[in-house]
């Protein structure tokens, strides 16, 4: 189990636990505002964009090639940007804090 916290654009904090699946799926399941997952997780819509809290970036890792390309479409991309559908939840992510991107 990994404990994961989402902080929405409205500053709502949602802390939840999951063992598997993706960050996007978890966000949608928990009704986190701003995690829409419109394309269902096939890396085509960028409506699952999150900013990883800097201290967790090393554990989460950098985006893959396709993901980096897709992130380019987003104006709010930073070095901490990931597409939630491309991040698999594992035990290692326990404690992770994510900000929903604008």
């Amino acid at each position: 189990m990994a404990k994961i916290t989402f902080i929405t654009r409205e500053n709502e904090t949602i802390t939840t636990e999951a063992a598997a699946g993706t960050i996007m799926e978890l966000g949608v399941r928990q009704g986190v505002r701003g995690i829409d997952g419109d394309c269902g997780g096939v890396c085509s819509c960028a409506t699952c964009h999150v900013h990883v809290a800097p201290e967790y970036m090393a554990i989460v890792g950098p985006p893959g090639d396709i993901e980096s390309d897709m992130l380019e479409l987003n104006d709010n991309v930073t070095e901490y940007s990931r597409l939630g559908c491309q991040v698999q939840i594992t035990e290692d992510l326990d404690g992770l804090v994510l900000h929903v991107a604008r």
């Binding site: 949608v28 009704g31 890396c43 396709i66 390309d69």
Partner: protein, 416 residues
């Protein structure tokens, strides 16, 4: 005065991509009154794109593809009424008549009624068993069941559009012998260029799917335990399963009961409002003006459903949004990821950029202006194309096809 919370609800008819997105967007916009989402489909609202892709190819449950979990509706105080068909709109008195005869008043109404499969008028098609369209969870469950109970299942797919092709790929994965019949002279003829049609034809043939273009089904008839499919070239083939992917019919009948203006769909303005000031329409069922391309269009895509839903929600909250999104779409077949941006209709020139044997992009131009890009296993082309189109950056067509020039907006723009 009546407060917003004692008003009749905003009723949304159709709880699929558009309707569900609109309900949640209304809450995000701060709408505090009651929201009622109605759909005739009894399933918790689900995503449609996976139906012809993973849901068919893998033993997954439709519940894994819910648009939102049930609790999300409770959390946002959205009432979901499933398995209920809306029969008519009494727009003068602002209520809906449901199929069971009951009345449901509305404060504002959103039509997100989408589309249904088109059944070509083929003699026998309505009578033989084992015929399935490809639109709902029930359709897909029926297909999977039929495939799994047969040892060496043979399927005939009528129609070579994206849904037909994705279904061919998924069924092939399940070990089904697939024949696809397309009446036009090439696949995807309505939506893309010959170059793309050729690529997908070759891709399916490489996997062992029998593709026949220029072949129209003229009749089907039962023959023992299977079905005989006759085509216009005089040949026949046998099938255990017939899948109809021949396009859609827009669900405008309900809108017609309110006398709304229809023209290739429910006509809406830039705020998704119909010809009745209390009624909005969103998604596959609408005909709307696209400012980028300067014409009325009707789209069948998740992007359009969701983006237009958000516009309608903002308009219902008295904001003045304008629907001005660049259309995009995707399709997955085998290991191929196709991404499309923009609308290619009306192009007078295409440029192909080849990255590798299964990675390329087709760039569509009209009078030198970039209209659309189809990217096969090449998300970079999709992203760069989107940028160039959206910002109307003039491109140098001679550079587009040169794979040695980096895929970057700066590198592809024309210097004039």
């Amino acid at each position: 005065m009546q407060s917003v919370t004692d008003q009749p609800p905003v009723c949304i008819v159709g709880a699929s991509h558009a309707g569900v997105a609109c309900a949640f967007a209304l809450r995000h916009e701060g709408y505090a009154g009651p929201i009622l989402l109605l759909d005739q489909d009894p399933h918790l609202p689900y995503q449609r794109p996976p139906l012809s892709k993973v849901l068919l190819a893998e033993p997954r449950a439709i519940g894994d593809f819910a648009l939102k979990p049930r609790e999300a509706y409770d959390k946002e105080n959205i009432e979901l009424r499933l398995g209920v068909r809306v029969a008519a709109i009494e727009s003068r008195y602002r209520y809906l008549r449901l199929a069971d005869g009951s009345r449901q008043p509305y404060h504002k109404l959103v039509l997100a009624t989408g589309a249904r499969p088109l059944f070509p008028p083929v003699p026998g098609l309505g009578q033989v068993p084992g015929v399935f369209p490809l639109r709902t969870a029930a359709d897909i469950e029926g297909i999977r069941e039929a495939v799994l109970k047969q040892k060496k299942c043979r399927a005939v797919i009528i129609g070579g559009g994206y849904i037909g092709l994705e279904t061919a790929a998924s069924l092939h994965k399940l070990g089904v012998a697939v024949t696809l019949l397309e009446k036009e002279s090439r696949l995807l003829s309505r939506v893309t260029s010959p170059r793309m049609s050729d690529y997908f034809c070759e891709l399916h043939q490489r996997h062992g799917v029998a593709i026949h273009t220029g072949r129209q089904v003229t009749a089907v008839a039962q023959k023992g335990n299977s079905t005989l499919v006759c085509t216009n070239d005089g040949s026949t083939c046998e099938a255990d399963l017939i899948l109809v992917g021949a396009g859609i019919v827009v669900n405008t009948e309900l809108a017609a009961t309110a006398g709304l203006t229809l023209d290739n769909g429910i006509r809406v303005d830039a705020t998704a409002r119909t010809s009745d000031g209390h009624i909005y329409a969103i998604g596959d069922c609408t005909s709307h003006f696209n400012p980028h391309y300067g014409r009325y269009i009707r789209l069948e895509s998740v992007q359009n459903a969701v983006d237009q839903a958000k516009v309608a929600a903002a308009a219902l909250c008295d904001k003045q949004p304008t629907y001005n999104a660049l259309p995009w779409f995707w399709s997955d077949q085998y290991d191929v990821k196709l991404q499309m941006t923009g609308l290619s209709q009306g192009y007078d020139d295409t440029v192909v950029r080849t990255e590798g044997p299964d990675s390329f992009s087709v760039w569509y131009l009209k009078e030198g202006e970039l209209l659309a890009v189809d990217a096969v296993n090449c998300p970079k082309a999709y992203v760069v194309g989107t940028r160039l189109i959206r910002e109307r950056i003039p491109v140098d067509a001679s550079k587009l096809g040169n794979a040695l020039i980096p895929l970057k907006p700066e590198a592809l723009r024309s210097d004039f």
